[in-house]
């Protein structure tokens, strides 16, 4: 088990480093920081000075090394737009995004898991068909349009929820629901198919053969054995939510990192963009690593050799 975890941690580190390199490459390809920072009337001397000051005259691989070194310590440089370190700006917004993501995941899990599990157990019945049709519809509806429609219905027409803004349950409800939309449908389908896979296993049939009551068979054999797969699915969704909330945050004016990065992109504020991408990616990688650690601890085939 120890070897497995170590290997996975090493992989995670490599992936994060790779992401950092990729952000470096992309931002260099997309634009020269000097051009962006200085007004167009700046003189060549001013440009030369800034280039030297930012270390942009050094060879590319040195720039890369310096960049990576800084990023590892959390230093993304100063935002081009605001007079603050990019990382600081980002971290200020992370709680809001995290809050939204967690609520969305909660909604998603509450709906998708029971739907998927019961559809699988009652495979072929009307419940299954209706459930999976709903899931299919959910996957076919663009989440941002659903968000707009919900604003139209619940906020404008019915006035149950405020149409935008940050706050407690009534403010987070519609955005979280919108964010959860696609993921709920996908999770329901994936849950159903992984439960079906386990239901077809010989040991489930064997447990029935032994005369174990069906309810216990489901709880002890089916659910326990599909637990880790389902956890994987949910974790994957959660990991994506942090970076994927851009449009939802935009529609609902939610002050999270998605909104921040959108503004940054419009303003060509590269340090902030880089910071957002790296943090979102790191979040995803860490969550997957946690899931793998849980897996290695709970599956006896891995935890004891």
């Amino acid at each position: 088990m120890g070897a497995f975890i170590l290997r996975r941690m090493l992989q995670s580190v490599i992936v994060i480093l790779g992401v950092i390199v990729i952000t470096f490459i992309i931002s260099r390809v997309l634009g020269d920081p000097v051009v962006l920072l200085l007004p167009p009337e700046a003189s060549p001397e001013q440009r030369a000075y800034l280039t030297k000051d930012l270390g942009l005259d050094r060879p590319m691989y040195i720039q890369l090394a310096v960049y990576v070194g800084k990023v590892i310590r959390g230093d993304f440089g100063m935002s081009f737009r605001h007079e603050e370190p990019a990382m600081k700006l980002l971290l200020e917004r992370v709680p809001a995004s995290l809050y939204l993501s967690l609520v969305a995941t909660f909604f998603s899990v509450c709906i998708a898991l029971p739907l998927g599990i019961i559809s699988a157990i009652k495979r072929g019945t009307i419940f299954d068909r209706i459930g999976m049709t709903l899931a299919l519809l959910g996957q076919s509806i663009p989440a941002f349009w659903a968000g707009i429609m919900m604003i139209l219905l619940f906020a404008v027409q019915l006035g149950w929820f405020p149409p935008s803004g940050y706050g407690g349950l009534s403010y987070v409800f519609l955005p979280a629901l919108t964010l959860a939309f696609f993921f709920t449908a996908a999770t329901a389908r994936l849950t159903r198919s992984s439960i079906l896979d386990v239901l077809d296993m010989d040991y489930v049939r064997y447990a029935r053969l032994k005369g174990v009551p069906e309810r216990t068979v489901i709880l002890r054999h089916v659910l326990r054995n599909s637990f880790i797969t389902i956890l994987n699915i949910v974790a994957l969704q959660l990991g994506l939510l942090l970076g994927g909330a851009v449009i939802t945050e935009f529609i609902f004016s939610w002050p999270g990192i998605g909104r921040l990065s959108l503004d940054a992109i419009y303003n060509r504020d590269y340090p902030v963009i880089q910071a957002t991408v790296v943090v979102a990616a790191a979040f995803f990688v860490v969550i997957n690593l946690l899931v793998d650690i849980i897996y290695s601890a709970t599956d006896p085939r891995v935890s004891r050799r």
């Binding site: 010989d202 064997y206 005369g211 009551p213």
Partner: protein
């Protein structure tokens, strides 16, 4: 001997179909047999003969929704278990009728300790507390010769060898002291050397507990060693049934004869093995009439009709129009 000739199981006209996208597979087409107390009854057939399905039907685990028991009755101790509601059927499974599946590796849940899995049936049928159960589990593990049972109880399936896993399965089957034990190819998933051990173990257990046993297999040698009576299954129908010695000495059905002829007999020198000509028919399209007719050396026009079962001598019945002549 009391109860020796009493019937414990009677199967009447069992028909099981599987509905697939490509058509209906008639896996079991009208099977009748009886099994008496304390005897070892063998069911022999090739793959796709339907033998495993019959075993599954007896324990009530025919794969739904594709598989359906179309008609028939299974009388266990006088009651038709097919007519029982799920709760009653569940009380009998694992408790009075126990099953030993073919592959011990896939039959065990990889995430649960084997001690627990052995005791699971016992727990649900006897409604016992955990403390008494461990004793019972250790006892039954000793019966199947699992070394250091107290320690091995805590192991997980992947830590056991194939032979040990099969012993675990056998222990599970025995745990509730069933009246009827059904073994579906209990040795085919094992190495040859282990097979001998397991066969020996099963024989000992059967003799010691005087258990009624149904052995489902394709292995004629195994049948010879273990069974009292045996039935031969071809394409979902029983084509011959007799006491073991009688069947081997005096096979009446052309298929049985072909099977016995294709056994290597330990002759010295270069001897070509006999094989039954032709191939197994497509399970979707069984031949009209006697299913063996396309491959039978004695086929004639009456074979277009399905032959009925006829008695040819005491305890020996056969399903062939021409058994008297050949």
């Amino acid at each position: 001997m009391t109860g020796k000739n009493e019937t414990i199981l009677e199967v009447k006209d069992l028909q099981i179909h599987f509905h697939t996208d490509r058509g209906v597979i008639r896996a079991v087409e009208g099977v009748d047999f009886t099994v008496r107390k304390q005897e070892v009854w063998g069911l022999v057939g090739e793959s796709a003969s339907g033998k495993s399905v019959i075993g599954q039907a007896l324990v009530g685990v025919v794969a739904k929704p594709a598989g359906r028991i179309v008609s028939g009755e299974i009388f266990f101790k006088g009651e038709d278990i097919l007519k029982k509601n799920p709760k009653e059927a569940q009380k009998i499974r694992g408790n009075q009728i126990a099953f030993i599946p073919q592959d011990p590796t896939t039959a065990l849940n990889p995430l649960l300790r084997i001690g627990f899995q052995i005791g699971e049936a016992f727990k649900y049928h006897r409604h016992q507390r955990v403390e008494t159960i461990s004793e019972e589990i250790v006892n039954v593990m000793k019966v199947v010769n699992i070394p250091s049972p107290e320690m091995r109880m805590k192991d997980y399936p992947h830590q056991l060898s194939g032979g040990l896993k099969q012993r675990v399965i056998i222990a599970t089957a025995l745990s509730c002291q069933p009246d009827l034990l059904i073994a579906d190819e209990p040795t085919s998933a094992l190495d040859v050397t282990i097979q001998m051990q397991i066969i020996k173990l099963i024989r000992e257990i059967q003799a010691k507990f005087q258990m009624t046993m149904i052995l489902i297999t394709h292995n004629l040698g195994l049948v010879a060693k273990m069974c009292d009576r045996v039935a031969v299954l071809y394409c979902g129908r029983i084509v011959e049934e007799a006491p073991v010695r009688e069947l081997y000495r005096n096979p009446k059905h052309p298929y049985t004869r072909g099977l016995l002829a294709s056994l290597p007999k330990g002759e010295k020198g270069d001897v070509e093995l006999y094989t039954i000509p032709g191939q197994l028919p497509n399970p979707l399209y069984h031949p009209v009439g006697c299913s063996f007719s396309p491959r039978c050396p004695h086929v004639y026009d009456r074979c277009k009709e399905v032959p009925g079962m006829e008695q040819c001598s005491d305890g020996h019945r056969v399903r062939c129009w021409r058994w008297k002549e050949i």
